[in-house]
């Protein structure tokens, strides 16, 4: 079973990514997409594929992948099935950074202002969380993360409250709902390096996470530098999830759910989950992004973060009930 898991997930991801190039307000045929790749021409199909849907699909893959991976790493590190990337304050910090850019109007004069500010915000909060928890253990990391999340969230609501005009408030709200619409190659170029480096750091922790299933003391006794693992997990999450949130806004539940979907399929081993959770995260976001393009309720399109919350929240509820039953 587990031997076929990764190839199967990779095939599903490729299929979903291909569908993402075809689907939308303007439906394309596979032939049109292929000719756009082989003979790039400035016609409608070529522009849609190369300038709109390809960067958008790549971003969906990168963002979903790093969210799923980071969730899997954090659940393994904290040995808690309810852990998720937002726990460390990185997403809230990135959101606050982007909101500041919108609030002060930087994003109106310069498109990449909100992702850049978001990136800075995410990295700054991660550094702060690290600083606050440097002498403590895993619990200190969680507490520092949740405290910083509250502070960043307070800043975000303050910005909403004091928004200079309804448009700014609308823009902030819209950004907070998470979306991949109107993202370009510039966003890919900005986010990809951070996501790839962060992802590589997180992927390197597999073996350590397996051993951490025995608890921190036994892991230490088996030669795992638990403090170093914690640091790498935090830095990897800050880079990857910080960049993801910076370009796409707040996208919840992927990091929480993706590991749970594959955990039973790899014998619950925390290290073996990493690659499948990465692929499942990418599949989830690519499919959700297609859904946001196709599902219309007459009004404006539904945002990616909102769609994932609507699908993800019931799952979270199921998880809480399920986990309680297992531990009761």
């Amino acid at each position: 079973m587990s031997r076929w898991l990764i190839p199967a997930l990779a095939i599903i991801l490729v299929a979903a990514a291909a569908a993402s190039l075809l689907a939308g307000t303007v439906w394309l045929t596979p032939g049109e997409v292929l000719s756009a790749f082989s003979h790039p021409a400035p016609n409608l199909a070529g522009l849609i594929v190369l300038e709109i849907r390809l960067p958008r699909t790549l971003l969906a893959i990168l963002i979903g992948a790093v969210l799923g991976l980071s969730g899997a790493v954090l659940q393994g590190l904290l040995r808690n099935p309810l852990a998720e990337p937002g726990l460390l304050g990185v997403s809230a910090g990135a959101s606050l950074g982007a909101v500041i850019a919108i609030y002060y109007g930087f994003s109106a004069s310069f498109t990449l202002a909100s992702p850049l500010f978001g990136l800075v915000g995410g990295l700054a909060t991660a550094a702060l969380a690290l600083l606050l928890s440097r002498n403590g253990g895993t619990l200190a990391v969680i507490l520092a993360g949740s405290a910083i999340t509250s502070i960043a969230a307070a800043g975000t609501t303050l910005a909403l409250n004091l928004a200079p005009n309804p448009y700014a408030a609308y823009e902030i709200m819209n950004w907070l709902m998470g979306s991949l619409a109107e993202r370009s190659w510039d966003h890919v170029r900005l986010a990809a390096p951070f996501i790839l480096v962060g992802g590589a750091l997180l992927l390197s922790l597999g073996r350590s996470l397996d051993v951490l299933a025995l608890g921190e003391t036994q892991a230490e006794s088996l030669g795992i530098a638990v403090g170093r693992v914690r640091l790498l997990a935090l830095v990897g999450t800050a880079l990857g999830v910080g960049a993801a949130t910076a370009v796409a806004g707040a996208i919840g539940f992927v990091g929480l759910i993706a590991p749970h979907l594959v955990r039973p399929l790899v014998g619950y081993r925390p290290g073996k989950i990493l690659v499948p959770a990465t692929l499942v995260g990418a599949i989830m976001v690519v499919i959700a992004d297609i859904a946001t393009r196709l599902i219309r309720f007459g009004g404006p399109p539904i945002n990616l973060g909102v769609f994932l919350s609507i699908v993800g929240a019931p799952f979270f509820l199921w998880l809480v009930v399920h986990v309680r039953r297992r531990t009761a």
Binding site: V211, A213, L214, G215, S221, L222, G223, I224, A225, R269
Partner: protein
């Protein structure tokens, strides 16, 4: 196989000295029971002996090597440590849990090499776990789990095994079973150090006994010379009576209620 030497070891925790000036040698092939009242510093002494706690003073040597000079991985290959209340967080199969004991010898990526699989099989067989190998470790009974943890600790063939209360929470038969396995390890040449609260069990399996009180080594020597009424009375501050001798020693305490 190597002995473990503690030389003038002091340990501080949270700014408080918990072990002071402990000089002890644990010989290879011997099983030493560490006894003493709650809070005496047994666990700290064991944890430091495993190289997992920084020393406030003194040195610890494993054979000829200073513990502090060994790399994490080398140390992890040479000594095994079982903490008090060892647990597992995910429903991982018993076989995989035991295989985690080989982690210090594994490459960073990839599956278990075939040669190591044989060692896991042997550890499973040695600890009566063959029938349970695919069972999630979270579903084991207390006795089964203790066996799995012991198999995890010994699968790497350590020179030194340190176990903190491995029999606590076990019924008499399983406590005896776990002790028998520790005894067998010592007989095979491993240096075994075990913290125990069950003094009858200590008398039954230990070659030597180390009595610790208030962070200091109170007495250390062959089991029969330490497990005697005057020392135990002094150690636990409650009148002790020793009945029988050798492996059949039975120890009772009488306190006024």
């Amino acid at each position: 196989m190597s002995a473990l030497h503690l030389d003038a070891v002091s340990i501080a925790r949270g700014g408080r000295i918990v072990v002071q000036d402990a000089t002890v040698s644990f010989r290879a092939g011997r099983l030493t029971a560490v006894i003493g009242p709650n809070g005496a510093g047994k666990s700290s002494l064991l944890e430091a002996s495993a190289g997992l706690l920084p020393l406030d003073g003194g040195t610890i040597r494993l054979g000829d090597d200073a513990l502090a000079s060994l790399s994490r991985r080398t140390l992890a290959r040479r000594r095994a440590y079982l903490p008090q209340r060892a647990g597992i967080e995910w429903p991982i199969s018993v076989e995989r849990v035991v295989a985690l004991g080989l982690a210090p010898s594994l490459p960073s990526f990839g599956d278990l090499p075939a040669a190591m699989r044989a060692r896991v099989d042997r550890a499973l067989a040695d600890h009566d776990l063959v029938g349970l190998r695919d069972r999630p470790a979270t579903q084991l009974s207390g006795g089964e789990f203790a066996r799995a943890m012991l198999a995890r600790a010994t699968v790497g063939d350590p020179e030194l095994l340190i176990a903190d209360e491995p029999t606590s929470g076990l019924d008499p038969r399983h406590a005896y079973d776990a002790s028998r396995r520790l005894r067998a390890l010592a007989d095979a040449g491993c240096t075994v150090i075990v913290a125990l609260h069950d003094l009858d069990l200590a008398a039954n399996i230990a070659d030597e006994v180390l009595a610790v009180k208030a962070g200091r080594v109170m007495a250390h020597g062959p089991a029969e010379s330490i497990l005697i009424a005057p020392i135990l009375t002094d150690l636990y501050d409650i009148p002790a009576h020793v009945v029988g001798e050798g492996r059949a020693t039975s120890i009772r305490f009488t306190g006024k209620l």
